[in-house]
Amino acid sequence: MLVQIAPYRYRVPKDFRKGMKIEGLIFASDELLAAIERDETIQQVANVATLPGMLGRSLAMPDAHQGYGFAIGGVAAADLEHGVVSAGGVGFDINCGVRLLASDCTLDDVQPKLETLVRELFRAIPCGTGRSGRLTIPPAQLDDVLAEGALWAIKNGFGDENDLAHIEEHGQMKSASPSAVSKRAKERGLSQLGTLGSGNHFAEIQVVTDVYDENVAKIFGLRKDQICILIHSGSRGLGHQVCTDYLETMNNAMPKYHIDVVDRQLACVPIQSPEGKAYLAAMAAAANFAFANRQMMTHWIREVWNTVVGKGSLRLVYDVAHNIAKYESHGIGKQKKDVLVHRKGATRAFPAHTDGVPEDYLSVGHPVLVPGSMGTASYVLVGTENAMKETFGSACHGAGRAMSRHAAKKNESAEKLVAELRAKGIIVQGASKSGLVEEKPEAYKNVESVVDVMHNAAIATKVVRLTPLGVIKG
């Protein structure tokens, strides 16, 4: 049984299941908790608490739903010396993340050109469900992408160096090792470089409709009525294969370390083991692939913007991952400890004066980007000291699914959905009719409810709200 210990905080006690070494903690409202209780999320939070060397609490954010091993929306930190790393704690889509670009334009500037902008963006951004993207590179160059991430993209003409400061890890996880990535992961990735992906990945033209914190919004360069573009995309087949490969490696290695897990998707190895180090090096390489992807798509978006809108530029506000494992320093009890934080469907939310926050955002913390589902609002939040104390500096990542893909397709057609969204002023262009319907707004939890929990629990507070005008989907 869950115990409410404070507003929006529900404890999963250590006797919830056998073998839990730490408690769990779920951030939710009553309404969101009811949804969380309907699937295996709480069991998964408890399962994560059975892994060796986990510290503090096993967490779930308010958008949590059942995942593979870890819940989506799950956060857990492991002791560096005695703890484990789990590929399932990052997920198949390594560095699935979000990037926000801000323009100098208002709705009046862009509205007359919106139809053209959506059409041209759809043409310019490869979705990648076909054999290849827009760019073909020799296989030998892929290792440079994996080592350098966004820096590789910039060196090859996609964007400029000023972008790097506003990307988590400056767009390059230096712990990456391309040699830890399998040949088959590289083969999957080579044809998908610079592609958006399908499912819940998208690029969206948005307008800032509400400003909740004028001071922070000003520092982020955001203001009411401003047009922005949000990209949600990850590491594509390369990242998926890295996770698949290392799930096998970890499952095969666990007996050697006398580790038994209740769910093979939780397969894990000691962080300090050869397998653990190899996974983290490969994960970082896959993360760099995703950073490079988002940088390339940013360049193509800027090209379209210049041609269609021809006014001002698109500045990178921030780019942040929501499927990743990071070496960080956090308070555990009264001590500060170096830990490995797994964030699976959870976003880093570092407050003011924290290492890792860009210099020009240091006085407030970095943007926390929370995309809504297709046709609903997105939010920019900012982290707080409470996040550092309670969630290893983490917050939610989106709205979380509320409905199965099969249920979403019942009594729905892509044509009807597109027409309904158009009636609300949202133009949608997607590569797959089935994909569009499965991603309809009603298939997701209410993002406002999710964000309100984070705000009211003082974990990450609202800065601005953005609503969609145009959506491009793979």
């Binding site: 088959r184 499912g199 294969q241 769910d263 199965s404 793979g474």
Partner: protein, 136 residues
């Protein structure tokens, strides 16, 4: 003849598969996965690939089999039609898979990976049964 049915899942897709033999189970599971990828599809036996796998157990073997076919789809655009098994044991498999390479096939639902989530392969009442979920 083996058959499969798709399963509901909060965010992804799963299937239950039945076959009279392990070979039929594995072949039908392949067709099930491709039906998720492409919707209803037909294809001919134009190209072939050899598949040789070793697993920890029969569930792991099925996962490796489907992940292998997913890899062939993503990198060669290989669409599965049929398989001929030289061996289909509980921990090892050797087969020739045939199908077509389809450059302009439009993907219905992209599959990231085959998962261990509730993965089951077992003999039940004289036939083989599998349940498998895909991250999409």
């Amino acid at each position: 003849m083996g058959h499969f049915t798709l399963l509901e899942h909060p965010s992804d897709v799963g299937m239950e598969v039945y076959g009279a033999t392990r070979e039929e189970l594995f072949t039908t599971a392949a067709r099930g996965m491709y039906s998720i990828l492409l919707g209803d599809y037909t294809t001919d036996n134009v190209v072939s690939h050899a598949v040789q796998l070793e697993g920890r157990d029969v569930s792991n073997l099925l996962l490796l089999w489907l992940n292998e076919l997913l890899f062939l789809f993503e990198t060669r655009r290989f669409v599965f039609s049929s398989s001929q098994f030289q061996e289909c044991g509980t921990t090892s498999l050797h087969a020739t898979v045939s199908g077509e390479e389809c450059e302009d096939c439009s993907v219905n639902v992209g599959i990231k990976a085959v998962t261990y989530h509730h993965l089951t392969v077992e003999e039940r009442n004289g036939e083989w049964y599998a349940r498998v979920y895909f991250d999409v």
